[in-house]
């Protein structure tokens, strides 16, 4: 049984079609990266899964339970972190996590232990008795993670979990998410591709409410990543580089050339021809190279290719 299944979700807000027949399946125990540009429908999807919004048509299941019909049973099986978590400002961090423990019906002893454990886990132990009203955005995000884990949920829904965190906090949170792999299913929306590359084993890319691709990360890279070379020259030779870039665009084995100051990224259709021709062409053009390499395909390449190209599964 899959942990999360979505079939044909449609959701419209006035003139905006937020979800347009979205469907996907998430394997239990995986860390699932839900990627998409701003306005792609990520938050709407998560809110529907959490039972906070209703789809116009289509269905979603968590742990085999239909989201719209079994909202109350599902509530006990999920942990949810919204994009901008809000808390009662008059409560302390400890009181808030304890309150959530009470809502889930944890016995007193277990609740106290779980509260301490979670506050320690997210790095808020030292400020546990400080009122939440004075917390920074990053501290709020950590508290949001803690409250989402209180009930040891089989499914964890995280909407942009690392937004608002400093680099150290982001690293810690990603390590925490990695540790959850196998223990629970993590469904995590984000637009930070590096984070997805680091922790997610499976990735779905959506745009304008439609699924563009869904596969294990390596498979996705293999399927969609395009071979690319990077050519870097000294800063003073950027103009020469740009002129050379124009000349190679017309070759049939060149798919795309992009420039970033003194670096040209050349996406190619045929790696073998490119290996023979590209370097020779650069040398013939009189470029003095600082760097020339066949770069590892990244999720960003896949993402941009799919989103900008409007690719489909």
């Amino acid at each position: 049984m899959v942990a999360i299944r979505i079939e044909g979700l449609h959701k419209r807000f006035g003139e905006v079609q937020a979800l347009d027949g979205l469907g996907l399946a998430v394997e239990p125990g995986s860390v699932f990266g839900f990627l998409g540009p701003n306005g792609a429908g990520k938050t709407t999807t998560i809110r529907i899964l959490a039972g906070l919004a209703r789809a116009d048509t289509g269905q979603a299941w968590i742990d085999g339970l239909e989201v719209a019909a079994d909202r109350r049973r599902i509530a006990g099986r999920i942990g949810y972190l919204p994009q901008d978590p809000a808390f009662y400002p008059w409560m302390t961090a400890r009181e808030f996590v304890d309150h959530v423990g009470r809502v889930f019906g944890l016995p007193a002893q277990e609740r106290l232990a779980r509260t301490d454990e979670l506050l320690h886990l997210v790095g808020l132990a030292e400020v546990a008795d400080r009122r939440v009203g004075g917390f920074s955005g990053g501290m709020g995000q950590r508290l949001g993670i803690a409250q989402a884990l209180v009930n040891r949920p089989p499914v964890l829904l995280l909407d942009e979990p690392v937004s608002g965190l400093d680099p150290a906090g982001r690293k810690e949170l990603l390590q925490l998410i990695e540790r959850l792999r196998g223990e629970c299913t993590v469904f995590m929306s984000t637009h930070i591709l590096a984070d997805v590359e680091r922790v997610c084993d499976t990735v779905a890319i959506i745009d304008r409410g439609r699924l563009l691709a869904e596969a294990p990360q390596q498979e996705l890279l293999g399927r969609y990543a395009v071979p690319a070379f990077e050519v870097e020259v000294e800063n003073g030779l950027a103009e020469h580089l740009a002129a050379w870039a124009e000349t190679i665009r017309s070759h049939s084995w060149v798919a795309l050339v992009s420039l970033d100051r003194a670096t040209a990224r050349v996406v190619v259709n045929d790696v073998e021809i490119a290996r023979r021709e590209l370097l020779a062409s650069a040398v013939a053009a009189g470029l003095v190279l600082d760097r020339y390499e066949l770069v590892r395909p990244s999720l960003e390449d896949v993402f941009l290719r799919l989103v900008e190209g409007g690719g489909l599964v």
């Binding site: 906070l52 109350r72 999920i78 949810y80 809000a86 808390f87 008059w90 309150h99 809502v103």
Partner: protein, 254 residues
């Protein structure tokens, strides 16, 4: 039932820490002990403040305990309604706006329980406020005028509390409908105006919540008639408002 106590516990702590209980208690307490003082010394103030005060004073009958009760009813009902709207208008709207409602209602917290706990906590806040006001007014009236009938006094305060709870429930409904506490406050004042207008309509007015304060005043004087239809309508309005609020919240996207 367990989850209701969890929700109520949170609401009661919030009433305390957000100073709502203190504000309601303090305001009603002030008017509780000020009412008999105003009844007693109001004419005296007129005499001292106006050039023809002595002449005017001759036209005013000597103040009695009934005047203290009338002052009390007028003050507590007016300020009670004002406090009911002010203390309730943000209770749901603000939670929806800030996102705490969404964070809590994805957990096993039924939306009806979420609302019921708020209503009970606000009811307890106003019950404490009226208890303090009632005790202060009773004591000062006894000192300045005479002791009032305790059972009648308790019944009067019970009716007064019920009257205020009508506006708490209606404002809670407005707060559920809206995401803005200003809008919910405006809607609640709309209800206040409508009920006041209906209360002035002959025959129909006899069944409106405002009739409860008239009944309450008559309990002490021993000359008033009961207003059971108004009591039934008030209870109906409270439960009706809560029911509608619950049905709306159940369907709302957070």
């Amino acid at each position: 039932m367990r989850i209701f106590w969890v929700a109520l516990r949170k609401e009661l702590i919030e009433q305390w820490r957000s100073y709502r209980l203190v504000v309601v208690g303090a305001v009603l307490l002030v008017f509780g002990f000020a009412s008999p003082l105003l009844a007693k010394y109001g004419p005296e103030v007129i005499r001292l403040a106006l050039p023809e005060g002595e002449e005017i004073l001759k036209l005013i009958p000597s103040p009695t305990a009934a005047d203290a009760v009338a002052q009390y009813l007028k003050n507590i009902s007016q300020f009670g309604i004002l406090l009911a709207v002010l203390m309730t208008m943000g209770s749901v709207a603000q939670e929806k706006d800030k996102g705490t409602a969404a964070l809590m209602l994805v957990k096993p917290m039924p939306r009806g329980v979420f609302l019921a706990a708020k209503m009970v906590a606000l009811g307890l806040t106003f019950a404490i406020g009226i208890f303090l006001a009632g005790a202060a007014c009773y004591y000062y009236t006894m000192l300045i005028f005479e002791a009032l009938s305790l059972p009648a006094w308790l019944a009067l305060n019970g009716l007064l509390l019920l009257f205020i709870l009508v506006y708490v429930a209606l404002t809670l409904l407005c707060s559920t409908v809206s995401r803005s506490q200003v809008v919910s406050g405006a809607l609640a004042f709309g209800f206040l105006v409508v009920l006041s207008v209906l209360g002035a309509v002959p025959r129909l007015g006899e069944t409106m919540p405002g009739r409860l304060t008239t009944w309450a005043g008559g309990l002490i004087a021993g000359n008033g008639s009961s207003a059971w239809p108004a009591l039934a309508v008030s209870v109906g309005l409270i439960f009706g408002a809560l029911l509608v609020a619950w049905l709306i919240l159940e369907r709302q996207e957070l």
